[in-house]
């Protein structure tokens, strides 16, 4: 079993200290490509998180039987099988969204965050810890994706949650928030350069915040006489 402290430190690690999007800068391809609105970002983030949780749990369970030399191919096979399951599920239940996300769903297999957590954490830890770690990492990724998606969607077309009808059907169209009515749109934010610029600004904000906290901590420690 895991203690509350371990649980908390795993989540702190995944969401803040080693956030995949802002600190480790892993898996930037889907992060940049799919963050053009909140719904796309949230969907891909959750799909990746599900794959990570399942694959880390599975990898951790078989870690004693897999020879060290061939562990990577074995892990990739496990991840690929799980991604195929997600891919088929999305195709069946949220088909319009599946068409929008397209190639990026099968590409979760090659997302280095998934393999990185499997090899760096799950291959050395208990299944429960591994699954929690994967969920925390996946949540960190999803968080960055959603914030990035919100910034780009807001700056690009002045709405939030556009495309929600792809997930919940035609009636859900009323949930689209027109935050800036009459906004003419800023195409750059939706196009790829907007992703790079917005992610750069997010990383800068994160580093700035970290530096400020460190400075506070240093100021709080009394200087030895």
């Amino acid at each position: 079993m895991m203690t509350m402290n371990e649980f908390r430190s795993l989540f702190h690690n995944g969401l803040i200290k080693q956030n995949t999007g802002l600190v480790q800068l892993l898996g930037l391809c889907p992060l940049l490509a799919i963050s053009n609105n909140v719904i796309n970002a949230l969907s891909l983030g959750l799909a990746t998180m599900l794959v990570m949780a399942a694959s880390s749990g599975a990898v951790s369970s078989v870690r004693h039987f897999v020879p060290h030399e061939i562990r990577i191919p074995v892990f990739v096979l496990i991840i690929a099988a799980l991604v195929t399951v997600i891919d088929l599920l999305m195709n069946a239940f949220v088909h319009p969204l599946y068409l929008v996300l397209g190639i990026f769903i099968p590409l979760i297999t090659t997302n280095c965050i998934v393999l990185a957590r499997a090899d760096a954490f799950a291959a050395k830890n208990h299944p429960l810890h591994s699954a929690v770690d994967a969920i925390a990492m996946g949540l960190g990724l999803t968080l960055v994706l959603v914030v990035l998606g919100a910034i780009r969607e807001l700056a690009g077309q002045g709405t939030l949650l556009s495309g929600i009808d792809l997930v919940f059907g035609e009636e859900a169209k009323q949930f689209v928030l027109h935050v800036l009515p009459g906004y003419k749109g800023f195409l750059l934010a939706i196009l790829p350069p907007g992703a790079f610029i917005a992610l750069g600004l997010l990383i800068a904000a994160n580093n700035w915040n970290k530096a400020r906290i460190e400075q506070h901590a240093r100021a709080a420690v009394p200087v030895p006489a």
């Binding site: 800023f186 195409l187 750059l188 196009l191 350069p193 610029i197 750069g200």
Partner: protein, 344 residues
């Protein structure tokens, strides 16, 4: 101070002041042939640039006065304003200038550190994001029935209202845009240039604007603020590429003189590609930089999605500058040439 006195024009402020002075003929011709709208655009760009510069200097912890008075922000503002349509709406000008100063200049490290020309980054952001507004140019006065006064131009820019005339009567496609659209509609070049917007070499009015920028550029060269390498290579790149295409199929490709006498080419050749920060620094590198930018300009104009390619061509070559400079280091005096024994 001992004689002989050599006039030193090397401080940033002095160089920037001469660049601004060299732009004055172009501005004068623009007012004369296209109406006073450009003055409003320039003023708005200057105010925005200085405000953005001051805010960024404060945020980065630099002293404001020495950097605000070095005129570099104003040069960026002018170059961007001269690249924009004369009656562009105010938010277009503000957005472009903010992007140029905040992102392209200060986020890359401020004056002397920017790898891309800030004015061209501002222009590229605008043409990618707002293609419609960026192609509505005020036509030359000789072709418009109701010229706008300064106050009317200001109300168009700030309020988007056209007083006595409709939008279409005042604005029209630039010659380059007209050529592009015509070619897409399967007209030949000879048919297209019978439209009233086309003049002797370039477009009516536009060719004089180009000549004025050329004059300002020659002034900068005469003062040795810029060397001849980049402008000459840039113009040669344009002329050779356009001439080559025109020679093989005059019906589908515009004449080299037409391509050369677009204001954007002269502005780009003498004022933007010569940027000492984002351009190449070695003499041979400058030639490669200019030729490459000229070649790409014609390629983008001919096969690209936008009517003009100067900004994109220069930005792409900005990207190659470290590589160009790396491989064109001049031979140090006394060092052996490659493959030759040093002489005893």
């Amino acid at each position: 101070m001992p004689a002989p006195f050599i006039l030193d024009r090397s401080s940033v402020t002095q160089v920037m002041a001469w660049v601004l002075a060299a732009l004055l003929p172009g501005i004068a011709v623009s007012v004369w042939l296209f109406g006073p709208g450009i003055l409003v655009t320039l003023s708005l760009a200057i105010v925005t640039a200085l405000a953005a510069e001051a805010a960024m200097l404060k945020a980065r912890g630099y002293p404001a006065t020495p950097f605000l008075t070095d005129l570099s922000a104003i040069v960026t503002a002018w170059l961007l304003a001269l690249s924009l349509p004369t009656l562009a709406p105010w938010w277009l000008i503000v957005t472009g200038t903010l992007f140029a100063i905040v992102v392209a200049k200060h986020l890359y490290g401020g004056l002397g550190q920017n790898i891309f020309n800030p004015a061209m980054v501002g222009y590229a952001v605008l043409i990618v994001s707002f293609p419609v507004q960026m192609t509505q140019w005020a036509g030359p006065l000789s072709l418009t029935e109701t010229p706008l006064t300064l106050a009317q131009s200001a109300s168009v820019i700030f309020g988007g209202e056209f007083p006595k005339a409709t939008l279409d009567a005042v604005t029209m496609a630039t010659p380059l845009d007209a050529l592009r659209t015509g070619l897409l509609q399967q007209y030949t070049v000879d048919e297209i240039i019978t439209q009233p917007i086309f003049g002797h070499y370039g477009g009516v009015g536009f060719e004089w604007l180009a000549a004025a920028f050329l004059l300002g550029g020659l002034l900068l060269w005469a003062l040795r603020i810029i060397s001849w390498h980049v402008p000459l290579a840039f113009l040669a790149g344009i002329w050779l590429t356009a001439g080559f295409l025109h020679f093989f199929d005059p019906g589908r490709f515009g004449a080299p003189w037409f391509h050369l006498f677009a204001p954007s080419v002269m502005l780009g050749a003498f004022f933007i590609a010569t940027d000492p920060v984002s351009g190449a620094t070695t003499p041979r590198g400058k030639l490669i930089f200019g030729l490459g930018a000229g070649f790409l300009t014609i390629v983008i104009r001919t096969w690209g999605g936008y009517p003009d390619g100067v900004a994109f061509a220069i930005l792409l070559l900005n990207l190659c500058v470290p590589l160009i400079d790396q491989y064109t280091q001049p031979r140090v005096y006394g060092e052996a040439r490659k493959g030759k024994e040093p002489q005893a």
